[in-house]
Symmetry: C2
Subunit: 409 residues, 2 copies
């Protein structure tokens, strides 16, 4: 008898009606004779209500107590979903993090899952019950309640699927899969049937909000097939799986963009060892994620240094850079918020040359200047002026033939 | 270094401001160099909100899942109070039922505490921290979350005090102690300084809402001194302790009344073995609490049977009695809702004769007819017409000299 893990997010369990709707979908799978473990998030809005309550008491709450409080959101959801299932004649049992031993480290509010002991979960399933598992939460060695950070329920689902060696981990969302690009920007964006973990990881870290990055890493490490699909429409979604030979035939799988980064340039930086560390260490200490970094060739002992930071952190970054810039006698810090990062992703790049050249040519043909470039084995990103975002996405989507032909016609 | 247990109810932690107020009181005790374990209820209204949510999903929810959901109310309170304490520089750690091993049986929604392992609690206290314990909740042998029933936080507090061998268990409420009678009815009602467990038990079961009955039983069994006091005014309240010889000098400690019972009489019941069981078993099965029962002497093989039931259960009781009455050919079931039960309580009665006689005389002198009488070792209750309630309470309160002389003057 096969075992399936299903994960429903906060919107899917946002009201009692929606919880009943989820119960019906779960019941359908269970009645088909499969073992089902369901992971649920807190009801939409509930986590924020709890966080507001915490911040009303203290602006800097202890992270241990923060976790004790916010984890109650999922606790309520699993109880309600279990009751809804029982109400339609499906035996169900709610499972809290400490009960099924979702063991994590003690990094409160952003804990990492170390291990899940499958014995209690299996015993629930073997009794013929649906196991309704609280997402987002775990417990450390000392029995302290921990939480996994925003989007952590995806990670819970993948970890439960790994522990149970489930056939598939179904992630129900408000979109019906992963697309070749943003459908709001390209009318002929196509739902991808199957994508590799590596590609999904690049997409997640480029800002696609379908799946949380850590959950994809975990799935890749433990070889858990993920199926991303809609909680509202009953159609097949996108499978995220191990790379298959057939995937390499496709040069590029998707086109992504990110308008949330700003460009920072430091002019005439002395080109000597230790300078980069001096500049970037304070940013890292302040938890500012520096994404692309470009250093031009040195001229007369000086170089230009350009990098991107999240727009929301730009002011903070400049404040932090100022003293270092003065110390290094850097004459100028130039910033530009009107930029976008455009990326193409595909495992096919590993074995095919000329993909980057084609991307640059497409942008050139549209008269778009490339300001920064960064590449990985399966991704090429270019920073361009943000007014060209839509144009670039559509041109690349067409050039790499990602579109749905029917929609195009 | 002494150890104190303090319990704050839902009204005392009903808002963030009140939680801060509680934190200040706790901090004061902690700063005086005592170890403090605090038990808190859910914020006022929160438990009802959760119960409503449960009933929206199903009218007959599983009790296991009900417990998972409603126990989150206390979980939020302990997190918030811990944060409030830390915010004023007092180290604190929240403790859930499963963490400090509040072991109960598996009777969900009305579980009984079997044992509390003090080791984790002691380790928190020995680190110099305030232990902030979730009331109302426990965990069974299989790690299932259980709850103790309404008012269960009092029981949690007494059980924690017993486990820690605390000097005293302070119960903070919205009244400032236990009174000789209802101050709303008698202007010279006096706060009792010290009362025995037995007397408090009688008062609790007669409807005094200051302390939950089971918590008094638990305190009596484990010899935990309770101090009932106000969470709003800083004055000494009432100590509930083991019976002391001095207590027997006082004939009567308090006068209680209960307007919530109705009288039921069955006329001409056949007086033969098994008839009482036939009448009362179905009521017991329907969970209707029959309080006082009186059977008159038999005349010509028939007797009259009179008893009281809660007014809210009267209709249900009559429906249940009807078929039995027909079977037994009882000609008439007479009910009376306009009755009150007046009780006097005091351990002094054990050693003093004539207390009952005095009570009857006082009522007779006021022209009040006694309809039913029941007695225990330390209590005498009379059912009278409810219009005489205030008159009877005041007359007995005066006759047994319970009043505050200053207020009287």
């Amino acid at each position: 008898m096969g075992c399936v893990v299903q994960k429903y997010g906060g919107t899917s369990v946002g009201s009692v009606d929606r919880i009943r709707h989820v119960a019906q979908r779960v019941a359908k799978t269970w009645k088909a004779g499969r073992q089902v473990a369901v992971i649920v998030s807190a009801m939409a809005g509930e986590t924020n209500r709890l966080i507001d309550l915490v911040h009303e008491v203290s602006p800097e709450p202890s992270e241990r107590e923060y976790d004790v409080i916010v984890s109650t959101g999922e606790q309520v959801s699993i109880g309600l979903l279990s009751i809804a299932l029982q109400d339609m004649g499906v035996p169900a049992e709610s499972c809290l993090g400490f009960q099924i031993k979702v063991m994590t480290d003690s990094a409160h509010s952003k804990a990492r899952i170390l291990d899940i002991d499958p014995s209690r979960l299996k015993s629930v399933l073997d009794q013929g019950k649906v196991a309704v598992v609280a997402g987002f939460q775990g417990v450390d060695d000392n029995g302290n309640v921990t939480t996994l950070g925003r989007g952590g329920s995806d990670l819970s689902a993948v970890a439960v699927a790994a522990a149970l060696k489930a056939e598939v981990c179904e992630i129900y969302t408000d979109v019906d899969g992963v697309y070749t690009t943003d459908p709001n920007m390209c009318v002929n964006a196509r739902k991808i049937e199957k994508i590799s973990y590596e590609e999904m990881l690049e997409m997640a870290s480029l800002g696609a909000k379908v799946l949380q990055t850590r959950s994809v890493e975990f799935a890749m490490k433990h070889d858990v097939p993920i199926h991303v699909l809609s909680s509202f429409r009953e159609v097949s979604g996108t499978y995220v799986v191990k790379e298959e030979p057939s995937m390499e035939k496709v040069l590029v799988t998707s086109v992504a963009y990110n308008k949330d980064e700003a460009k920072v340039s430091l002019r005439r930086v002395p080109d000597r060892p230790g300078v980069a560390a001096k500049i970037f260490n304070p940013l890292a200490s302040a938890n500012i994620v520096v994404d692309m970094i470009i250093q031009n060739i040195s001229r007369e002992g000086f170089t230009d240094l350009t990098f991107t930071v999240p727009k929301g952190d730009l002011k903070k970054a400049i404040d932090i850079l100022q003293p270092t810039a003065e110390e290094l006698e850097v004459p100028e810090i130039v910033t530009d918020e009107k930029v976008s990062k455009i990326s193409i992703i595909g495992v096919g790049m590993k074995t095919h040359a000329g993909v980057a050249a084609k991307m640059f040519q497409v942008l050139f043909d549209e008269g778009i200047n490339i300001e920064m470039i960064s590449t990985s084995e399966i991704k090429i990103s270019c920073v361009i002026k943000s007014k060209y975002t839509e144009l670039a996405v559509r041109a690349l989507h067409d050039a790499f033939e990602l579109g749905d032909e029917e929609a195009e016609a």
